[in-house]
Subunit: 254 residues, 2 copies
């Protein structure tokens, strides 16, 4: 019997955003492996084993899942959002690349999901309508100098920028530093979207001008989208949140 | 009666990647509006009107849909992939911003979908595992100088770069020019993924080193992903396609 390991994207949280393809993989898995809160989201099934772990042990979790698959299990490694975007898929392939050569012949698949950036953008309009970059603001896995250089490059070329992992108790100052860098080149009225727990019961989404934004508004569950110079608000009636969008055209209007 | 307009992401093509939330919107719409092939993908429903149009009339289509919603219809504007990524959502908000003020009080929603970049990445491994940019290579809506400056900035900061709209009969030379720019800074063995018609019956996905890639391999239905300096192949047994991934860490290894 040959094992199978699929890294499955659960999307932003609400099962209405889980694709049927991902749901099939979850239903047919013998073993679910993942960060506790993601595993807890899933219904219990008779005969299906559940292996929860802490958030900061991605490589250990990947190796554990690969071992299970090598023994013939059908393993689903669950991941929030899309597994390929600042989530579990890269950790699994890092483990394969540096681990037991037998893992290379395993059937390893990735089931895509709706990543937080797309969910947050959909909630406010179309802020990613132009070109955009997505980057992790965490300096756990890369030096802050690299984070800063990438942010500056993206701003200089007038990309919309989505920041994953903007802040945590262990990384309290990085988002404030990023906003200062943004303010060096973007106008004070540039729309900044702070989208917390998108499509979950405790969702909170705010769009603020750069001049009023503060890092303390964000937390670990927040994704931050920084508008380009062309990103616009469409004001609406009293009590209606404005739409936020980035036009597709740039420079001369078609 | 108040109308509703929802821009719905159909995902990469196969209905197994359509979210239940998007499927609900499609089922309850009185009117479907979209590019012919996208509308044709959807099952016919009694009493539901279908309005197909050509691919190059996004703004006209958006205005038509907004007018229908103003008259009380529940309109679903269908879009491939995710509507917020080089698709219909921005066109709808452009139309609102520059059109009938009544459109601003409409309820306009966006249902996210799996965008081509995520689907293509999932098929080969985790090439977006690090920071990445997504940009349209089309110079229909922005000057080529802007396209080129953004590509150079993204490469210089060592982002993975996903290119949407890489080539068409009306834009035959841009992708070749882009590959030349990539070759100025990236190694000849940098993995380039050309993913055509992902998750559709005529899917074709190739990963080639930069030195062997040619623009003629791509067509209108292709998305191109350019690896960062850290993007790696994991070679496997004879006959098995290599996995492609970008490690999460950069510079010093954790």
């Amino acid at each position: 019997m040959t094992g199978l390991l699929t890294v499955v994207g659960l999307g932003p949280g609400d099962p209405r955003f889980l694709t049927p393809a991902a749901a099939e993989v979850l239903a047919s898995a013998t073993d679910l492996v993942g960060y506790g809160p993601y595993v807890d989201r899933l219904p219990k099934r008779p005969g299906q084993r559940r292996h929860s772990s802490d958030n900061r042990v991605e490589l250990d979790r990947a190796r554990f899942a690969l071992d299970l698959a090598t023994k013939g299990a059908r393993v689903a490694v669950v991941s929030g959002g899309d597994p390929g975007v600042f989530a579990m898929a890269a950790a699994v392939f890092e483990a394969v690349d540096n681990g037991d050569p037998a893992w290379r012949s395993l059937d390893i698949r990735v089931e895509p999901g709706i990543t937080a950036m797309l969910a947050a953008a959909a909630r406010v309009g179309a802020p990613l309508g132009g070109d955009f970059c997505a980057m992790s603001l965490s300096d756990n896995l890369k030096p802050w100098e690299v984070v800063e250089a990438r942010l500056r490059a993206a701003l200089a070329a007038d990309f919309v920028v989505a920041l994953y992992n903007p802040i945590s108790s262990a990384r309290p100052w990085q988002l404030g530093a990023a906003f200062k860098i943004v303010a060096e080149t973007r106008d004070p009225d540039t729309p900044i979207i702070l989208a917390r727990a998108v499509m979950r019961p405790d969702e909170r989404i705010r769009t603020l001008p750069l001049s009023e934004v503060e890092a303390s508004i964000a937390d670990m569950s927040t994704i931050v989208i920084i508008g380009a110079s062309t990103t616009k608000l469409i004001e609406r009636s009293e009590g209606q949140a404005p739409y936020v969008y980035t036009p597709r055209f740039y420079g001369v209007r078609p």
